[in-house]
């Protein structure tokens, strides 16, 4: 464990740690572009130059291993001059695209310039012209003039998706990143390259020109398109989500997410339920007040009696909602009949990287909460509360009274007697358990449309109507789940790590 000094500070690091990694550990800021913690070391941007005492030249911090007794200066005059020199040369051929470049506001070149340079430009020659707006696929556009040739995208394609679809062509000042002749990018992870591109050379076709980065508010959430539950950031302005980005989570998705999940932010604008609906005498669903709708539910369920009511838990819903369902039916109506999303529902294609075949975000959560699939029996299911839409047409015909809690106006919802509008994952605080038993929480990024509210709050409202107290705050429900359930036995909602925590087997 070599001991060294960085900027006067003594540190001890693991054998083989580079200076840059050590600085990241202790919070010393060094400028860099081409280095990325998940990719191999390229050492080509030359930005991370630091001074080591007794060394004749500046060295790059990303590729220099800390040795015993090393004395490093990252901000000495010599180091600063070196860093500024590199930045000046890098900016010499960089186009002044900031006013039209999507990366503005989250651009590493802008940021490093403001932090480490602030020199006036001395370049008065002709800048090298390169292809701008080259579509590398229908998802990504490349701008050769902005590109600083850090090779992060090439390394991503070689090392992460392992499909080697990008290369740097030509030589010297005419170098460009490109796909091979006649090819396009085909990976379902390609948009990650837009994330790691330090500048606006790679931009997302989906996000281009839609919103300035500084207007976007980032909120931590979880992708709900498969059971991996990649940690994400939902970037929104007002109540509109503009994009998802992966959030670093070493336990689940590292720095990445698949494009399908990334672009799934659009789905919350789909066919949404926005108000409570009640089937009227003519058999059509019409808007009702919450009170009216809830009163009807309570009346019919009391008529049936607990033995004839079934609650169907949903692998698409939060732990809180599923727990509230159990509490409501058992505590409020005396029912012990439960089912859950069937095993074969919510399955699709997985891949070798992050995508799983299980397309539900919380199948493992409802298992841990004790729900299993049970085929519906006619006597026990005269009345059903269904979260989501997993019910067979057969059962549908035999049910006398169907209450659906759903964010979307599905085909099943259209056939319900009562529909309550619920919130999407990104519109509420809630917890989900992924396929490895890891529980994570979402934070509310935007308001749900219309009168939609989180499913657990809907169930709490119904509970109130039968004098049953169900907490409406997810932290409180989380606490209850932890008290009652061995598998969860975790720390509080407040203290739950943004990267989640393991449930027990």
């Amino acid at each position: 464990m070599p001991k060294a000094t960085i900027n006067g500070r003594e540190i001890e690091v693991a054998q083989g740690t580079t200076i840059l990694a050590a600085c990241e550990e202790i919070g010393v800021r060094i400028p860099y572009f081409c280095w990325h913690p998940a990719l191999s070391i390229a050492g080509n941007c030359r930005m991370c130059l630091v001074e080591i005492e007794k060394f004749p030249k500046l060295v790059i911090a990303c590729n220099t291993v800390v040795t015993e007794g090393m004395i490093v200066h990252t901000n000495s005059d010599k180091a600063k001059k070196g860093q500024q020199g590199v930045l000046e040369i890098m900016l010499a051929n960089h186009p002044l695209d900031c006013p039209i470049c999507d990366q503005a506001g989250e651009c590493m070149l802008q940021d490093r310039y403001f932090e480490f340079s602030l020199q006036k430009s001395r370049f008065i020659e002709e800048k090298v012209e390169k292809p701008k707006r080259k579509y590398l696929s229908d998802k990504i556009v490349y701008d050769g003039e902005r590109c600083i040739l850090c090779s992060r995208c090439v390394r991503f394609s070689d090392e992460i998706t392992k499909d080697s679809q990008l290369g740097i062509f030509q030589r010297g000042a005419h170098s460009v990143v490109d796909v091979f002749p006649g090819k396009t990018l085909t990976s379902d992870y390609q948009l990650n390259m837009v994330d790691i591109c330090p500048v606006g050379a790679l931009t997302s076709v989906d996000f281009r020109f839609k919103c300035r980065a500084w207007y976007l508010v980032p909120t931590a959430s979880i992708c709900t398109k498969c059971a991996r539950g990649c940690s994400i950031i939902a970037d929104h302005k007002g109540d509109r989500i503009f994009r998802y980005r992966p959030r670093k989570n070493p336990y689940i998705n590292s720095f990445w997410m698949c494009d399908e999940g990334r672009l799934s932010y659009k789905e919350i604008e789909g066919n949404r339920c926005t108000k409570p609906l009640v089937k009227n005498v003519r058999g059509k669903l019409s808007v009702a007040s919450w009170d009216d709708a809830i009163q009807i539910v309570v009346k019919r369920f009391k008529e049936f009696g607990g033995a004839s009511i079934t609650g169907i838990a949903s692998a698409y819903e939060t732990n809180e909602a599923n727990w509230a369902l159990k509490k409501l039916l058992s505590g409020g109506f005396g029912s012990t009949n439960f089912s859950a999303t069937a095993e074969n529902i919510g399955k699709g294609e997985g891949d070798q990287f992050l995508k799983l075949e299980d397309k539900t975000p919380n199948r493992f959560g409802i298992k841990k909460l004790g729900f299993t699939f049970n085929p519906l029996s006619t006597e026990k299911s005269r009345g059903i509360i269904l979260m989501g839409d997993d019910i067979s047409t057969e059962s549908l015909e035999k049910v006398e009274f169907l209450v659906v809690i759903s964010p979307y106006m599905t085909e099943i919802a259209k056939k319900a007697d009562i529909v309550f509008p619920s919130a999407h994952a990104v519109e509420q605080f809630g917890s989900y358990v992924n396929f490895e038993g890891r529980v994570q929480k979402t934070e509310k990024a935007v308001r749900a449309p219309g009168e939609a509210i989180p499913a657990y709050q809907i169930l709490a409202l119904i509970g109130q109507a039968v004098s049953l107290s169900i907490p409406t705050c997810p932290a409180a429900i989380f606490k209850e789940i932890n008290k009652e359930n061995d598998a969860f036995n975790l720390i509080s909602w407040k203290d739950l790590d943004p990267c989640g925590a393991s449930t027990k087997a």
Binding site: I41, G43, N44, C45, R46, M47, L49, K57, L58, N63, G82, G85, V86, E88, I89, M90, A92, N93, R122, F123, I124, E125, E126, V128, I148, L149, I168, Q170, R171, G172, A173, H174, S175
Partner: protein, 418 residues
């Protein structure tokens, strides 16, 4: 004229010097035979170390010491790569070795391979070298047929294969790690060092990269002993060197001289003096990447590593580029700057944009569109390119700019004022 010991050029004047039959007349391949059948690898390396032979490609690193960097355990195969990329502007000695005496190189490589335990050796030859490649391949063919290469060389159980691999027009592939990348079939781009090729080189295995001239000197050294080689030359620059003289002298060409030979003698005696009686203006002593010297500065210059360093330049590849009084230094520097900008591999920031920026400024000045402050800017950019890159191409590009400006600034200022 001082008597020149002929080590490297001894066969060049013979008719059909490149044929095996000619090479054998003078004890050719006898040394290799002795080495392979009687010596131990360590003995060979010891002789080379004792000779004080230094890398002739330009860096001047002690060859025996380089061979000693190889790991002692033989976990991975060891490779020998002969750097025949000869791209340094002004250098044309290796091509003559390969055209006129390829067998000397082959024999040198056999001995070197034996010393370092290499079973597969490569000659990375510059793509533009048509005739040298033909002669080399023909010589290797002859050597295979004679049993000097192949499965059981010289009747022993040692195998050695020698492959000629052609480049495709990149000066940067003369850099040892870029050369290795090129042989591996990848873009010729230098690697980060450490790790060094002696530890992680070709195909991830320990590799020694030596220049053509360095390897060609090995047979003589082993035959006559390292001590004999060390008796030639000066205290730290042993043996002889090939010097390529180009420019307006009467007899430009390749000359073999003992290290420490006076440059003035080389130009006036060997090369027959300046053409048309013109005055000497400047000399670049070791290839365009070495600092230029004025006529006054070369008055007493002896060409060896130490004297050149004392004169604030470098021996480099031994490419002596001569300028006379009619030389337009601004124009020449612009040509050089164009070369480096064209040859930059583009991997790292300072070289990729720096070489291009410098060329653009010089082009502007050369075309009469220079501005006040251009020279300061040019010096600054060139200085910013030094000491910060993956390989020394960036330094090599900056050096002529800084030295031309230092020695011939008035010419640049004149063009700007005009």
């Amino acid at each position: 004229m001082a008597k020149t010991v002929k080590i490297l050029t001894k066969n060049w004047e013979k008719k059909d010097s490149y044929l095996l039959a000619t090479y054998l007349q003078d004890g050719g391949y006898e040394t290799a035979r002795n080495v392979v059948t009687k010596y131990s690898p360590d003995q060979v390396t010891a002789q080379v170390k004792q000779s004080g032979l230094r890398g002739r490609g330009g860096a001047g690193f002690p060859t025996g010491v380089k061979w000693g960097f190889l790991p002692k355990d033989k976990k991975k195969p060891v490779y020998l790569c002969c750097n025949a990329d000869e791209g340094e502007p002004g250098t044309f000695k290796d091509r003559y070795i390969m055209e006129l005496d390829p067998h000397m190189l082959v024999e040198g490589m056999i001995i070197a391979s034996f010393a370092i335990g290499c079973k597969l050796a490569f000659i990375y030859i510059r793509g533009e070298f048509d005739l040298p490649k033909l002669r080399l391949e023909a010589a290797i063919d002859e050597a295979y047929r004679a049993g000097y290469l192949g499965k059981n060389i010289f009747g022993t159980d040692i195998g050695l294969d020698l492959v000629v691999h052609a480049g495709a027009g990149a000066y940067v592939c003369g850099e040892e790690t870029a050369l290795i990348e090129s042989i591996e079939g990848k873009k010729g781009q230098p690697r980060l060092k450490p790790p060094f090729p002696a530890v992680v080189g070709l195909f991830g295995c320990p590799t020694i990269v030596n220049n053509v001239e360095t390897l060609a000197a090995v047979p003589w050294i082993i035959k006559n002993g390292g001590e004999a080689y060390a008796e030639l030359g000066t205290a730290q620059s042993k043996g002889t060197k090939l010097f390529c003289v180009s420019g307006p002298v009467n007899k430009p060409g390749v000359y073999e001289c003992e290290m420490g030979y006076p440059l003035k003698a080389l130009l006036e005696e060997n090369c027959g003096g300046m053409k048309d009686g013109r005055r000497l203006k400047a000399v670049i002593p070791g290839g365009s990447s070495t600092p230029i010297l004025t006529a006054k500065e070369v008055e007493n210059l002896k060409i060896d590593y130490e004297c050149c360093v004392l004169a604030e330049t470098m021996l480099g590849s031994g490419a002596v580029i001569v300028f006379d009084e009619t030389a337009d230094m601004v124009d020449h520097l612009t040509t050089l700057a164009h070369f480096y900008a064209h040859e930059s591999c583009g991997q790292c920031t300072p070289c990729r944009w720096g070489t291009h920026w410098c060329y653009q400024i010089l082009k502007r000045i050369n075309e009469g569109k220079g501005k006040f402050g251009d020279l300061e800017l040019l010096s600054d950019v060139a200085a910013n390119m030094m000491g910060k890159t993956i390989c020394p191409l960036s330094d090599a590009a900056a050096v002529p700019i800084l030295s031309f400006l230092k020695k011939f600034r008035p010419e640049f200022e004149a063009k700007i004022k005009a």
